[in-house]
């Protein structure tokens, strides 16, 4: 119990701060809470779904299979597969780190993990839809086309730089 209390110390303080701000009419506090509320709604609307998929991915896809398709020897097909996987997801980048952990655990190559993170950051289909709506089709397509080779390049560089001693750790409560 004590450990959980410690983990959530900031959250508890923030709740007290928000309620306090509301009652004494401290405007900055109220604005900060409304910021938080917007982010929280975004997080709570996709994170549980993402973890349902991560859990199912974990039990359905054996290590040998992932290693074969997006592991060290996977080549262009592996790159294509991780980009496709990333494009089908939703949410901000911090949601991708747990996925990176699962991919690492299942034997994905360092290069492919970073290509995945790149594609996740700015090529997710749901997000491209919003981008087209606000900034136009030309902007969206051009940005994607310029970004993609850079992400692949970053994947290769990361493998060179951190390849040997790289590991993704599980973050535990």
């Amino acid at each position: 119990m004590n450990k959980h209390l410690k983990n959530y110390a900031w959250v508890i303080l923030f709740i007290i701060f928000s309620i306090g701000s509301y009652f004494i009419g401290f405007k900055p506090g109220v604005v900060i809470y409304s910021n938080f509320n917007q982010f929280f709604i975004e997080m709570i609307s996709f994170i549980p779904l993402l973890f349902v998929l991560i859990g199912l991915f974990d039990v359905w896809f054996p290590k040998e299979m992932i290693e074969k398709h997006i592991g060290k020897e996977s080549g262009v097909k592996g790159i294509f597969l991780v980009i496709l996987l990333a494009m089908l997801q939703a949410g901000p980048l911090y949601g991708a780190f747990p996925v990176a952990y699962i991919l690492y655990k299942k034997g994905a190559s360092v290069k492919n993990i970073f290509i995945y993170l790149g594609a996740f950051s700015s090529m997710k289909i749901p997000m491209l839809g919003i981008e087209m709506g606000y900034l136009g089709i030309k902007f969206t397509i051009l940005r994607t086309l310029i970004s993609l080779p850079l992400f692949i390049l970053i994947g290769y560089i990361m493998e060179k730089v951190v390849g040997k001693d790289f590991e993704v750790k599980e973050v535990k409560a």
Partner: protein
Amino acid sequence: MLNNTLIFGLLTGIVLIVSFILDNKKTILGLKKGWKMLFSILHPFLNILILISFVLFFIPDTLIVKYLGANSGWLGFTIAAIIGSITLIPGFISYPLAATLLKQGATYAVVAVFMTTLMMVGIVTLPLEIKYLGKKAAIFRNVLNFVAAIIIGILMGRFM
């Protein structure tokens, strides 16, 4: 935003049902694993959201529009890259903001570098990233993505 969540939720639901029909024991095991992982990262996620809420209070939209709007030039480009790298703004806020910036006369280069650093580089989320990827990889990833975002910004300015 709501539509996207709905579609994502629907897809997850279909995957879940198919998985359950194929093998209910495996599915329950998967859900348990997912829940365990979700619970273990819930508090770091919430802490990040709290931190960003404070950061954004000090960098409100009006200030961003003022400094990145018309005739902001290279200074605007630099400020856009820096603000974008520090913060993390969800799509449903950042895209309308980007559209506003364009209407106010910001260049495509500024808007592109702002959007790409927002998505690809995260200084606020760096502590969490280090927990997963380790210090070296997390810092390198952010630096490389920052360079990439600058290139994307410049090229977008050229081609749009």
